[in-house]
Amino acid sequence: MSQTTSQQDTERQPGEAAPKVSATTPGDAPAGTGRPLTYMFTGGGTGGHVYPALAIADEVRSRNPEARIVYVGARDRMEATLVPKRGYPIHLVYARGLPTGRRPFALLRFAFCTGFGVLQSLFHLLRHRPRMIVATGGYASSPVLLAHWLLKSLRLSSSRRCFVHEQNAVPGKVNRLAGRIADRIGVSFEASLGYFPAEKATWAGYPVRREIGAVSRADARVSQGLPAGAKVVFAFGASSGARSINRGVVDALPRLLARPDIHVIHVIGQTRSPDYNAESDTRDRLDGLDLTDEPLSRYHQSDYSHEIETLYAASDLVIGRSSAGVVTEIGICGIPSILVPLPYAPGDHQAVNARTLESRGAAVVLYESISVENGQTIGVVDGARLAGMALEMLDDPARHDAMSRRARETFDRGGLDRIVDQLDQMLTERPSDRVLSNGRPEEPDVTGRAVPPASALSPFALVRRFAKGPDQAFIESVGEDYLKYRVDGYLKSTAWQIRNEGVKLVGLLGYRDRLPFVLSLLRDKTPAPLLQRLFGGDYQQVGFIRRNAVTTIEQLGVYDESVRTRLLDLLTDPYYEVRSAAARAFAALAPETADTDGEALSGLRGLLRESSFEIRSAAILALGRMGDGAVAEWLRPFYQDPNWKVRQAVIDALTDLVRRNLIDDLDGLGEELDGILVTSNHFDPDFPIKRTLNRLTGMIRGHQEAP
């Protein structure tokens, strides 16, 4: 498709508010006094990048009605509908997010799309000749930024300025790159200043729409029909993944509505996917609760709200996601909140946003946990815990006020003004002018936690750390809930290497409540792809995961019927390490004193025929631990086993049986022992000189410590 046609296809006619001059004579005006100031906005891909751009654009236009505003965004994304609706012309260009993982084909497509998008953007830049580029991040902004950078490095756009706004505490990929291209970067969280060159980055805040926080509480309550004295909880998820919040809120209703003064406003969203239908799912769940009419009259449900500012103003507590926009809006309204981060948003920024607020004492964070439903892993919000947290906050007026104050202090509504001031200033200053202030002074951190570097929280780093033993100091510095949330993320991962580390961490950290999930992994017998099976693969939950899951069960130390059934099944697993691990787990977990478990014993006996010495010895040891006197008979054929490790296991097992007084004929056994082959292929070396040296070293140390 040629650039001209694409431009004609996609340019929307500006709405009535746009200045006429810009619509009729694009780009051909000579640079000079008569020419209107042109701003090019770009950013998008998701709504979170578009709304701030629109807020800035509105403010620019209200200050200078003569200014021309054009928007460049990605095809078929949020901006394609949102921007024309607001009355701005938009040009749609090719853009594509960087693919995750090593997929050469996707990477090629990305390179091609971006390259074409850059060409399109070059055309738009040369045509409109904007004095100012405002980018709000998201991959949709990458073509314009790259095109601008190209022109700048060719010295073709010396008077053009570029401003980048970063909404989140963790910058996205595009904005990190933009840090090098832009003249100025405004961030919403001081925490993200470190990602950008110090002389360019400045704290600006989040551009919040003027309407937010402009409604008074009394008016809002009247318009929503809520009593003035009520305590109002306002819960809403985003359009994406609201399921966990919706269900959690419904689960919390019985406890919340038991208080006669609590009202709950619940905006459930309009999700109607085959996986999840917000409306019917919520209705079903509500029906299961058996609530009477009176409490239900204080539950106000809707699927969408056009006047969110009114709902904010009416409420005492907000339950929601922690995107930068929501967090800032709640903060400006000064409402304490329970934040449920969207798990694994890019850079996990929702968790970081939420933790930043929590550290200021302005919110509490409730992390999703995971569960398996219909073979799918889904996020779950614990309703009981949610209700408990909500009541705790509503019942403690002092804390509620403090949180409200902290929220207001953390966020102010000056973000929009500061950003547009900055834009105005950039247009008048010389290029060499530098930002003098570099953000606000450090805020005190009420939790006393520092967010550890991301590398310390990688699954492999965590396993390395905890393999050495529990590290309580580290757990506290990260936050126990947050750590668990990270581990849940690993367990959900589609890459088996990551899932595998997650399984290990469950055992190393002793998360007993994840046992059902670990068992569900072991129950999952989805076959691996055909090619892998040809080379000896078996299930999607690969051998290592199953083996480590068994070890994890052993570490958790729980032995109930579900564990027992699972272990019995694993005695016939296709992967040898799993079979031997299952035998070991039986030996470690099964109670010695209880009645002998015939099923388990016969399962273990079946392993004695295995060709792998590892399985034979594990089974023999388990038999010694769990079996009765009859087991000794089964072990006799292994007195001459070719592998000494198996013979040693036989001796260990017999020792166990003797210790437990299960052998009637001890004399007979004593005689039999001569029949055990004890010639061995193995010995342990011993270096006497090293032993002697160690004695001396020990003595010196003792003397050093004594005085």
């Binding site: 088996w496 290497q497 595998n500 691996a528 892998q532 080379f535 000896g536 693969g537 078996d538 690969v542 051998g543 290592f544 995961i545 992967y575 390490e577 010495f613 590892e614 592998n643 000494w644 490790k645 061995s680 292929n681 193995h682 010995f683 342990d684 070396p685 011993d686 270096f687 006497p688 090293k690 032993r691 040296l693 160690n694 070293t697 020990g698």
Partner: protein, 369 residues
């Protein structure tokens, strides 16, 4: 150098005609072997002490307690000893103007250099993971392989007569199976890289790699003697490679150095060879295989190394990285045997026995064709 000195004397002074002896390959080979062995014995103890004192150790000790049942703290970089004695015997006893010798020395120097860098980094940072990365090693090996291939295939530089250089020979087959032309260049690089790595993997237990290497070198030495001799090569129906007999002397020198190193490296080891030993040994075996046009002979005589490399490749790349399961108990193979409960000495000696048998089978390809 003795060779050159003697040749000079022999040509100029009539009364020294008994020095003709030094022109014979067999005599020089024996001298080279003895020199290689003698030099290691002479300097071994000193070098080991020097390495230890300078803390060139595996898992360096810092005023702590050493475990009395392990060899932790054994000096590393014993390969320096091997390199030194190979150099000594080659410089003394071989014809230094022979192109085979020159290429051999280039290989030795190149692989020793980056083996040394690798070990040096490990010791410097006190971390066995901080050596050269696998990719860097591959790069160095491949660079040599390609450079060597170029020299080998350009008629003016090649030690091998034009027309033969790019032909592919197989064991048990008399005539070359096909002429690869310039495709022989990547093949040479592959052979050098593969053999160098295979030998490197085998360096895991005391004496495990050094003995199979010396067997392999002996086999190649015998082949060098045959193909470098117009009569024998004609009799056994090999393509005659003039000048390659010189490699017999070199192989003997390497053999002597290996035996000398085994003196100290035998269980329990007083010194480990480290990458500075394993890489050059692998590199020179690979170079010998290409120079003598007996690349596939290595699959037989160096079967131990091939099996180990194969086990590592299958276990790591297919099993652990892709399928998420083990295929062998452990890799390389010798660790699998240890895992099954065989003592180190047992594993090592059994591998020697197998290497010896494979060497004999390799030698049999001289006649069975």
């Amino acid at each position: 150098m003795i060779f050159h000195l003697v040749t000079y004397l022999f040509d100029t002074v009539d009364s020294l005609s008994f020095l003709r002896l030094f022109q014979y390959l067999s005599f020089r080979a024996i001298c080279a072997a003895l020199t290689g062995f003698g030099v290691t014995l002479l300097f071994g103890q000193r070098i080991i002490r020097l390495l230890y004192v300078n803390n060139v150790r595996d898992n360096p000790r810092t005023h702590g307690v050493t475990s009395s049942d392990s060899k932790a703290g054994t000096p590393l970089m014993g390969g320096l000893l091997i390199i030194a004695s190979i150099f000594a015997s080659v410089l003394l006893w071989s014809d230094l103007l022979n192109r085979f010798t020159i290429i051999f020395l280039l290989a030795l120097v190149w692989f020793s250099l980056f083996g040394f860098i690798d070990d040096y980094r490990k010791i410097r940072y006190r971390d066995s993971d901080r050596g050269l990365s696998q990719a860097t090693k591959l790069f160095f090996q491949a660079t040599f392989g390609l450079a060597f291939g170029l020299i080998f295939l350009v008629p003016g530089l090649s030690p091998v007569p034009a027309g033969i250089a790019s032909e592919l020979y197989l064991p048990f087959v008399k005539d070359p199976v096909l002429d690869l032309g310039w495709w022989y260049l990547p093949f040479i690089a592959f052979v050098v890289v593969a053999i160098a790595n295979a030998v490197n993997f085998a360096d895991g237990l005391d004496g495990l790699s050094i003995v199979p290497v010396s067997f392999t070198v002996v086999v190649y030495g015998v082949f060098a003697y045959v193909v470098g001799n117009a009569i024998y090569s004609g009799y056994l129906q090999f393509t005659y490679l003039p000048g390659s007999g010189e490699l017999t002397v070199i192989c003997a020198g390497v053999f002597g150095a290996c035996l000398g190193f085994l003196w100290y490296n035998a269980y329990p080891a007083q010194v480990f060879m480290g990458d500075v030993g394993a890489l050059p040994l692998g590199g020179i075996v690979g170079t010998l295989a290409v120079l003598l046009k007996q690349e596939f002979l290595f699959v037989i005589t160096g079967g131990i190394f091939v099996a180990m490399a194969f086990s590592v490749l299958v276990q790591e790349k297919i099993g652990i990285k892709w399928l998420g399961r083990r295929i062998f108990y452990m890799a390389p193979l010798h660790h699998a045997f240890q895992y099954r409960g065989l003592a180190e000495t047992k594993v090592v000696i059994r591998f020697w026995i197998i290497a010896g048998i494979l060497a004999i089978i390799g030698l049999s390809t001289l006649k069975i064709r």
